[in-house]
């Protein structure tokens, strides 16, 4: 028995001691809390190579982070956030400015990676994600259709594909009621050049830009699986993989799945292109994911945490996981899968405007738009009702007086 214990002890020392791939030998116990998708797994695995590091990959991270970072000392030293999930931490002052640490240990970081608020660096971005056009090259070539660059062209193409009857549904869409549906509207509204708020956080969507965004969405649903209101990213990805759809505006992070031979019947046939243009910008919003560091820890712990995070986000990690994301980190080689994200960003896609009011707006949009798509309300009523719901919620949270 004693022998077994000793052996187990030796083994565990070996596993924690496996920092061969890490240039920084970490002796401070560190923990991170982030979302659980592929890119975070790659980054936190690389961080763990430095030793004494424990990662929580949790899809409910956004509900835990504000409380966990407000604790003294913070329960996690490193956090993974995106545009919108950084807002509650920033508002509560539970994440620290990183200018000193970047100057000391982050000289290799690209300016593009430094997320600044009011001149101070608060987060280090590692990747971007956005929705862009994916299409079946073979189908479009067979039917002699040019790659659509606007929604009008996309609808024309859909009509031709429908007539040819080569797939079940010409278009797929992440139109699931809730966050997904809200995001689709936000993409289109930004594409129309819309501003969500006026002074005093008052809503500003009940106008011709909002109506245009809604009308595009409804036109697209004509060519979708009629169960579009329950279809999320995974569902659309599967529709692509099983050859059921020909076009969709899908997340860049889903691109690699199209070429996954274990799941996909369309390997090499799906091509990535820019999101369709709205009247002003591509109908898409640019998201970043990155790391933040807790305020409530000592400066020594912060230094250790920062260095471990830098090791996790290094070129070596990117080389090993090139297709897992559209990395911002040095060493990323943009292959055909990253093409759509690059083109969309280069055409001037707007960043997702994460803020307190936007959090409420996203929720009420996600809940309210289905009434228009199902025909229960007309566009103006839908938008007026969404604005009313926004004001009620914003008053309750104190954002609107």
């Amino acid at each position: 028995m004693f022998k077994k214990l000793a052996l187990a002890g030796a083994l565990s020392v070996m596993t924690t001691g496996a920092w061969a791939a890490c240039a920084y030998e970490n002796t401070t116990p560190l923990k991170s809390l982030s979302a659980g998708f592929e890119a975070w797994k790659a980054v936190t695995d690389a961080m763990a190579e430095c030793g004494n590091f424990q990662a929580s990959l949790d899809q409910e991270f956004r509900e835990k982070q504000p409380e966990a970072f407000a604790a003294k000392p913070a329960l996690y030293q490193i956090g993974g956030v995106a545009n919108s999930t950084m807002v509650p931490l920033l508002n509560a002052g539970t994440i620290r400015p990183l200018d000193d640490l970047v100057a000391k240990y982050g000289q290799h970081l690209k300016p593009n990676q430094l997320i600044k608020v009011d001149g101070k660096i608060y987060a280090i971005a590692m990747m971007v994600n956005l929705q862009h056009l994916m299409y079946r090259e073979d189908i479009l070539n067979d039917l002699g259709i040019a790659v659509p660059t606007t929604y009008a062209e996309m609808l024309d193409a859909a009509a031709k594909i429908k007539e040819a009857g080569v797939v079940d549904y010409p278009i797929g869409g992440t139109f699931k009621t809730g966050w997904n549906l809200g995001e689709e509207f936000i993409n289109n509204f930004l594409g129309e050049g819309g501003e969500f708020f006026t002074d005093g956080n008052m809503p500003n969507i009940n106008n011709e830009k909002g109506v245009a965004a809604l009308e595009v969405m409804k036109a697209l649903t004509e060519y979708m699986d009629p169960e579009y209101l329950v279809s999320d990213s995974t569902y659309v990805q599967q529709q692509f993989q099983q050859g059921k759809i020909a076009m969709a505006n899908l997340w860049a992070s889903r691109a690699a799945a199209m070429d996954d031979e274990a799941e996909s019947q369309v390997v090499g046939k799906v091509v990535m292109a820019a999101a369709p243009m709205g009247s002003e910008r591509p109908a898409s919003s640019l998201w970043w994911d990155g790391v933040v560091f807790a305020t409530n820890m000592t400066d020594e712990v912060a230094e250790a945490a920062f260095q471990v995070a830098m090791e996790g986000m290094d070129t070596e990690m990117v080389k090993a996981n090139n297709d897992a994301a559209v990395w911002l980190i040095d060493g990323f080689e943009a292959g055909r899968l990253a093409q759509g994200a690059y083109e969309t960003a280069q055409k001037g896609a707007a960043p997702y405007p994460g803020s307190g009011p936007m959090g409420i707006m996203h929720t009420v949009l996600g809940n309210g738009i289905s009434d228009y798509l199902t025909g229960a309300k007309d566009a103006a009523t839908t938008l007026a009702d969404i604005e009313a719901a926004y004001i009620t919620a914003a008053k309750e949270s104190g954002l609107v007086q």
């Binding site: 956004r62 504000p66 407000a70 919108s84 999930t85 807002v87 509650p88 508002n91 509560a92 002052g93 539970t94 300016p111 593009n112 990676q113 430094l114 997320i115 600044k116 608020v117 009011d118 971005a125 971007v128 699931k176 009621t177 549906l181 002074d199 699986d225 009629p226 169960e227 209101l229 329950v230 569902y235 640019l286 970043w288 305020t295 911002l328 690059y342 960003a345 280069q346 960043p351 994460g354 803020s355 307190g356 959090g359 409420i360 996203h362 929720t363 809940n367 009434d371 199902t374 229960a376 309300k377 009523t381 009702d385 719901a389 009620t392 919620a393 309750e396 949270s397 104190g398 954002l399």
Partner: protein, 340 residues
């Protein structure tokens, strides 16, 4: 039993009920009359995020909560009376909608839409659960001794499954070209989409609930059937009563207290319908009162949540259940009084 012994037995349970039921309820009631919010100030902020090829920096006016010297967000709690209830009920909007477009217009307002479905769901599933429950109980009762055990086990299975998991499985069976949708399509020779309109989802939700809880009713009724007075049944046979008459005049009256018990439990459970909405992701078409409370409570990505409205909505759900239970409670009380 003297009072001291009685108190010693009941005390712990009363304490637990106060701690875990009465206190939280009181706190929810209080929260529904108050609103807690941070104090925001508007500042001009420049924020930069990744772009191609250069970073994108925008300057905008943002609402930022004030922090105290400890670095905590300053929050103020104000008494708002019935405002949160008004926000949930939206009476004025509902009334205007009804005046303009008739009763159906209520469907456009969340609370009334949820109430409509919750009531339909509760009142339609109740007789079905009682009927199927009794049917299964009679079937078990009449099964031969040799197969009784397996029959009880199999008929209890649906009740053992976790509600959300059960709802998800049904969802997958019918979603898109799921196995059962494919079967219906083959049978009807036409394209079927079960999740593309409200009524098919509602039917699925109700069928699922009946399938899920009928076994519970069945097992209770089965227990009741064991105590039916066999003398009374035999004399009914001698008097020439048919099977149906024996059922109507002997068995059902005997089971009445159990039927009321099952009805009460079912009304309370069904009025809180929630798992099915999540499991079938039916929010686009169908929502329930309990889902509405949940939706208020879930924080959005920026961390806002509507605790006051969630509390008001929870209190309204409780009031709804209480109203539904009144007829049944009155009946039990009258029976109780008549019995002594």
């Amino acid at each position: 039993m003297n009072f001291k012994t009685f108190a010693a037995f009941v005390g712990p349970s009363v304490f637990m009920m106060l701690l875990f039921i009465a206190l939280p309820l009181a706190s929810v009631l209080k929260q529904s009359f108050y609103v807690t919010q941070p104090i925001y100030e508007t500042v001009e902020v420049e924020s930069c995020s990744p772009g191609f090829p250069e970073q994108i920096c925008v300057t905008e006016r943002k609402s930022v909560p004030k922090l105290d010297e400890d670095g905590k967000i300053v929050e103020v709690t104000t008494y708002v009376g019935l405002q949160s209830y008004r926000n949930v009920l939206e009476l004025e909007r509902a009334w205007n909608a009804v005046k303009r477009d008739g009763l159906m217009a209520l469907q456009s307002i969340d609370f009334w839409k949820a109430l409509r479905f919750t009531l339909t769901f509760t009142l339609i599933t109740l007789p079905l659960v009682l009927g199927f429950g009794l049917g299964i109980a009679l079937m078990i009762n009449n099964a031969s001794q040799a197969i009784k055990g397996p029959v009880i086990f199999i008929s209890l299975l649906p009740f053992i499954i976790t509600p959300v998991i059960g709802a998800l499985s049904i969802n997958w069976l019918f979603r898109g070209d799921g196995i059962l949708t494919a079967f219906i399509e083959w049978y009807l020779q036409r394209d079927v989409s079960m999740f593309a309109q409200a009524w098919t989802i509602e039917v699925l939700i109700m069928l699922y609930r009946v399938w899920h809880v009928a076994p519970f009713a069945a097992i209770v009724f089965y227990a009741g059937l064991q105590t039916v007075n066999s003398d009374a049944l035999e004399s009914a046979v001698i008097d020439g009563a048919s099977r149906w008459q024996r059922m109507k005049y002997v068995v059902i009256p005997h089971l009445m207290p159990l039927i009321i018990f099952i009805s009460m439990i079912h009304l309370m459970d069904a009025y809180r319908v929630f798992e099915e909405i999540v499991g079938f992701s039916s929010q686009g078409y169908v929502i329930s009162l309990q889902w509405l409370t949940y939706d208020f409570l879930v924080p959005d990505q920026a961390g806002n949540r509507s605790i006051s409205r969630a509390s008001a909505s929870a209190m309204l759900t409780m009031i709804g259940i209480a109203i539904l239970l009144v007829p049944l409670l009155r009946r039990t009380w009258q029976d109780h009084k008549g019995g002594h």
